[in-house]
């Protein structure tokens, strides 16, 4: 321990003697570590933001989307002519044991009028289980009930964007009467704000009305009985894949799809999307990280270079130390400690700089960044390892000098 402390003191003195040179050598490591930390922060921040957006759609949600139909050789993509019916949805909730709650809906973009204000928005005819399945609470009033659905009552629940578009500041939308396609609706509730989807759609720009009301009084007679989408939850989050498979099997049966035909629907899980986007952002983070690591590597080579110069310059000093009794390991340790000190001090400065840069990025570019302590600690420790790795060769060169040659060196 005493030996280490003395060696550290000697190393620090040697580094202080060449302040500019030490600083420039450290700069490589500083930039490398700062780059690693900043890049990882940006990458993880982006990842967390995407995950959060996906989570906002509802957790453990399965989406059954109509589509991929084959009609006389013409294939329509998903979301085309609907092949799903309300009866399919009811069958799913009855016959798939792994499925918990379901909801289904049809939507149309229509104008909604309140007094002299109007607004074009998505009118969504859905079942009363919609808030529960979507994990979307009502912030004021209440959602419509099964009774409203059965008697096709003219009640509506508004999203936040619609509320702000139609109603002035301080106006209470509850119990107000709005018109959709000239049909009057009483507003009974307001949904809480949910924000954008991962693809930038405003989820709050919506009006939800009972499915039966929508079909009978608003949307018209086209495609009666079909739905635009079915959402389902699993009874438990680890049964999501099972639920998806049960839905698939059931729908193939109901749609009489033979084993050599493709599905005329798609079951998608938000987990799949989350996983896909996570993979994408992981690839991005790794890419950034490897570029940043290269600069750390270059920094390490800088340390090695300067240490080789230093060994040559101080050949005589090494000879003197050997003459008074320094063993090979003393000399080795001295130069290793010098290299490690350079890289660790650089690593520390780089960590501070990296954190600062990450904060600046999120401040000025408004990119979300997420500082990860393991990444900071990892970059710092890695910089230490770089010092040991690149310091070893020059240190060994110094330790292997012949004392007589070293003493005579001019």
């Amino acid at each position: 321990m005493k030996l280490f402390r003395m060696t550290l003191r000697t190393a620090l003195r040697a580094l202080r003697r060449n302040k500019l040179r030490s600083a420039l050598t450290m700069l490589g490591i500083i930039i490398g570590v700062a780059a690693v930390i900043a890049m990882v922060s940006v990458g993880q921040g982006a990842d967390a933001a995407v995950q959060e957006q996906i989570r906002s759609l509802g957790t453990d949600l399965l989406m059954v989307i109509p589509g991929a139909t084959t009609a006389a050789g013409v294939r329509s993509g998903w979301g085309g002519v609907s092949t799903l019916t309300a009866a399919d949805a009811v069958a799913i909730s009855k016959e798939c044991p792994a499925v918990g709650e379901i909801t289904y809906f049809r939507r149309q973009v229509l104008q909604i009028v309140y007094g002299d204000q109007n607004w074009s928005t998505v009118i969504q005819g859905a079942t009363p289980s919609y808030p529960k399945v979507r994990d979307w609470a009502v912030s004021a009033g209440s959602f419509f009930t099964q009774r409203d659905e059965e008697s096709a009552n003219r009640v509506a629940v508004l999203g936040q964007t619609v509320v702000t578009s139609l109603f002035g500041h301080g106006q209470d939308p509850l119990d107000a009467i709005v018109r959709i396609k000239n049909v009057p609706f009483r507003i009974i509730g307001v949904l809480e704000a949910k924000g954008q989807t991962a693809w930038g759609q405003d989820q709050d720009d919506v009006v939800v009305i009972p499915f039966s009301t929508a079909v009978r009084r608003v949307f018209g007679t086209e495609f009666v009985g079909t739905v635009d989408m079915i959402h389902a939850t699993a009874v438990a989050s680890d049964q999501l894949d099972e639920a998806a498979e049960q839905i698939r099997v059931l729908l193939r049966q109901r749609h009489r799809i033979s084993s050599n035909e493709e599905d005329d629907f798609t079951v998608r899980s938000l987990n799949d999307m989350a996983r896909a986007s996570q993979t994408a952002s992981q690839v991005m983070t790794n890419l950034l990280l490897s570029v940043a690591s290269i600069s750390l590597l270059v920094g390490g080579i800088g340390i090695m270079n300067i240490l080789l110069v230093s060994v040559t310059e101080r050949t005589r000093e090494i000879g003197i130390r050997m003459a008074v009794g320094a063993k090979n390991r003393h000399i080795l340790l001295q130069f290793l400690v010098e290299a490690t000190t350079l890289s660790m001090v650089g690593g520390l400065a780089g960590a501070i700089l990296g954190v600062a840069v990450a904060n600046l990025i999120s401040y000025f570019a408004s990119w979300p960044t997420l500082l990860s302590p393991p990444a900071v600690a990892g970059a710092f420790l890695f910089s230490g390892a770089v010092g040991v790795f690149f310091g070893f060769y020059p240190a060994r060169k110094a330790a292997r000098l012949d004392p007589i040659t070293a003493l005579r060196y001019e």
Partner: protein, 247 residues
Amino acid sequence: MSDTLIQVRNLWKIYDIGDVHVEALRDVSLDIAAGQFVAIMGASGSGKSTLMNILGCLDRPTRGTYLLGGVDVSRLSSDERASIRNQQLGFVFQSFNLLPRTSAIENVELPLFYGDVPLAEQRQRARDALATVGLAGREHHLPSQLSGGQQQRVAIARALVNRPSLLLADEPTGNLDTQTSGEILDIFRRLNRERRLTVVLVTHEPDLAAYADRTVTFRDGRIVSDVSQTATPSPHTGAQHTDVNLP
């Protein structure tokens, strides 16, 4: 009868560098008693520096044995030789060889650092060693702030600080003027007399060799003369070990 500190038998040092074959030492045998002050003289290339390097455990002989205090040190590993240099030997060089930009006292402490001496004791012993060579009060001067003679005295203090049994001085006054050279040699003689420190001094100048008890002269890798001076009073009364004794 004094103890034999150094016993060299049939020592050869041969350098083979490419086609060049140099016999730097040829069958040298030499005994030096503890407490003796020996001057080694000879022209450049006579082998005296090679002998000094071997005596100083910086180099190993090609053939032959070198017993230091009864231990054969000629076959030791480089770490073991480093220990011997640290514990038993003190070096004084022609070019002082102090660490630049390092204070006098820190230069003197250097051997203690490698000798695992406790920190507090290091400082005290270094202070004492500097006082011995008359440099008390200059502990924190840098080598560049000291004269040549003072620098060499710092080097002597460094050589003394680990309480060696043998002091090796390789042309210690080569870079100094005559008066300063005399002062340095006085220090060696005082250490030799007062502490019975064995001193081996390599020099060109017969004047300086006169400070020693005995002068060994080299030519072409061989000892050509080995004379005990009676002119300089020696503290030893025992018989001198001499291999060759020419007038």
